[in-house]
């Protein structure tokens, strides 16, 4: 029996007015995400990944269409949606001079946790995300991998049902990338959190996602499990996701999108 999806969109679209006219960044997207899955939202640069993500996280109002996120209407009940989702932007978002513990506490208070509740969760998250010795350091003193774990801890402090990650491993060294993949899997397994991540790294999408949605030109162009997509578009389950991606979008990702990875 199928469980109802935790996130659905219908004809979700966003246009931008620029000096050179109207740009349709997202042209009507219909997607459904199942509870507990890791969904990879994959596409070349400019495909509309980030715009879609910004709409789903209430940062950007849709021009058209509807969405239900964690049981609430995205447009009419943004405050209720916010209480149930966590979001990690590509650039993170911590103040360099703030101590790690302060940032986590502030975040908890923004989600209306009491100071005592927040303090408890900070200890728990620090254990889980290997931040224990770092709580009293300034954010600026953390390494890239540590910073990313802090960003994720910030997004988890209110125990969200869905965790949105925008290009989570961009800028990380190969070792930290592999660690982060492991962490994302563990978050899903231990907390049963649904993970919605955008990426333009094919290896990351292949390695991490239960299911992929491939977008191009503001539209969904293919979706399914990595195996399904490889068979369907790449010719066989042994096809690389790179060949599959080229078959679907008609072009490869940029060369620097294929980051080296130690696995």
């Amino acid at each position: 029996m199928a469980t109802p999806p935790i996130l659905t969109t219908h004809d979700l679209a966003r246009t931008f007015e620029t000096k050179r006219g109207t740009v349709e960044a997202v042209r009507g997207v219909d997607i459904a995400v199942q509870p507990g899955e890791i969904l990879g939202f994959l596409g070349p640069n400019g495909a509309g990944k980030s715009t879609t993500l910004r709409m789903l996280t209430t940062l950007l109002a849709p021009s058209r269409g509807t969405a239900t996120v964690a049981g609430h209407d995205l447009v009419r009940e943004p405050a209720l949606v916010r209480q149930r989702i966590g979001y990690v932007a590509q650039s993170g978002g911590v103040a360099p001079d703030e101590p790690v513990r302060r940032e986590l506490l502030f975040q908890g208070r923004c989600y209306r946790l009491s100071t005592a509740e927040a303090a408890e969760r900070i200890e728990e998250l620090a254990r889980d995300l290997d931040l224990e010795g770092l709580l009293d350091r300034k954010c600026a003193e953390l390494s890239g991998g540590q910073r990313r774990r802090l960003d994720i801890a910030l997004a988890l402090i209110h125990r969200p049902e869905i965790l949105f990650l925008d290009e989570p491993t961009t800028g990380l060294d190969p070792g930290s990338r592999a660690d982060l993949w492991e962490l994302i899997r563990r978050i899903r397994a231990e907390r049963n959190t649904t993970v919605f991540l955008t990426t333009h790294y094919l290896d990351e999408a292949d390695e991490l996602s239960d299911r992929l949605i491939i977008v191009d030109g503001g539209r969904v162009v293919a979706e399914g499990t990595p195996e399904h997509l490889k068979t369907e578009y790449g010719g066989s389950p042994q096809a690389t996701l790179q060949d599959t991606f080229i078959a679907i979008t008609g072009r490869g990702p940029k060369k620097d999108d294929l980051a080296p990875v130690a696995l």
């Binding site: 979001y87 978002g93 209306r112």
Partner: protein, 251 residues
């Protein structure tokens, strides 16, 4: 309402702590008025200024308003940095009240401004200022209202620009004429008619005059009353306008 208050408290606490951590910003805002106090004030001692009080009772109120003008108008600077670091976006995905994001910051600015004002007046006293305590308190109230007004506008404007390079020139080109036209350094009583008339269109003038009257203990000649009305009107308009802009800018 109670969530607005507690959210404002949370935001206020964050920024107050940041201010306390970098005390340099406290000193930095005080630099300009202090320099005027030390290097300009002594020149005025024997100059007829046309007002009731002595030179310090004329200059210090002006410097208080100048302090309010400059430190609050640049308040938005911090938000531009925070936008670039992704901090604003991180706050916006939480359910924290959008209004509290503005009010908490503005409240911190008011506290910072009051501390600076107190230091400025104490330095003034060291130089020879004598003024009634009630008058000084009234002056502080004017400065706070001015600070709240300008900081709200500054944050709202800062939400709409992307770089400090776009922000600073606009603030400077508004602030300097506003300062000169409100008779901050010398009373407008000394001005030729055209300049005097022009300066009546600058609301800060009334705050300067109200504060000067308060500093000589003259609470009933109308200047204090007009100053209070202008300050309250300015705050009401700026905060509601600032809030609207801040919200529309996506906060």
């Amino acid at each position: 309402m109670s969530t607005l208050l507690s959210d404002t408290g949370v935001v206020f606490g964050r920024y107050l702590r940041q201010t306390l951590r970098s005390r340099i910003s406290l000193i930095f805002g005080l630099m300009q008025p202090m320099l005027f106090l030390a290097f300009f004030g002594p020149l005025l001692q024997d100059v007829p200024l046309g007002g009731e009080g002595d030179a310090w009772q004329t200059l210090v109120p002006g410097l208080l308003i100048q302090l309010g003008l400059f430190s609050s108008a640049f308040a938005g600077f911090g938000i531009i940095m925070e936008k670039q670091l992704g901090i604003i976006e991180r706050m916006r995905v939480t359910p924290v009240s959008r209004l509290a994001l503005l009010l908490g910051r503005v409240l911190r600015d008011a506290v910072q401004l009051l501390t600076q004002s107190l230091l400025l007046v104490l330095f003034g006293v060291a130089f020879g200022l004598r003024a009634p305590v009630l008058g000084v308190v009234i002056g502080f109230a004017f400065v706070s209202l001015l600070g709240v007004s300008l900081a709200s506008l500054s944050y709202a404007f800062a939400m709409r620009v992307d770089t400090p390079q776009e922000f600073a020139p606009v603030i400077n080109s508004v602030n300097l004429p506003a300062m000169l036209l409100s008779g901050i350094l010398l009373p407008m009583a000394l001005a030729p008619t055209w300049l005097d008339v022009l300066s009546h269109f600058v609301p800060f003038r009334y705050l300067v005059e109200g504060t000067r009257a308060a500093f000589v203990g003259d609470y009933t000649d109308g200047s204090v009353g007009i100053g209070a009305l202008v300050a309250l009107a300015l705050a009401a308009v700026s905060v509601s306008f600032g809030t609207r802009l801040f919200r529309r800018a996506g906060a």
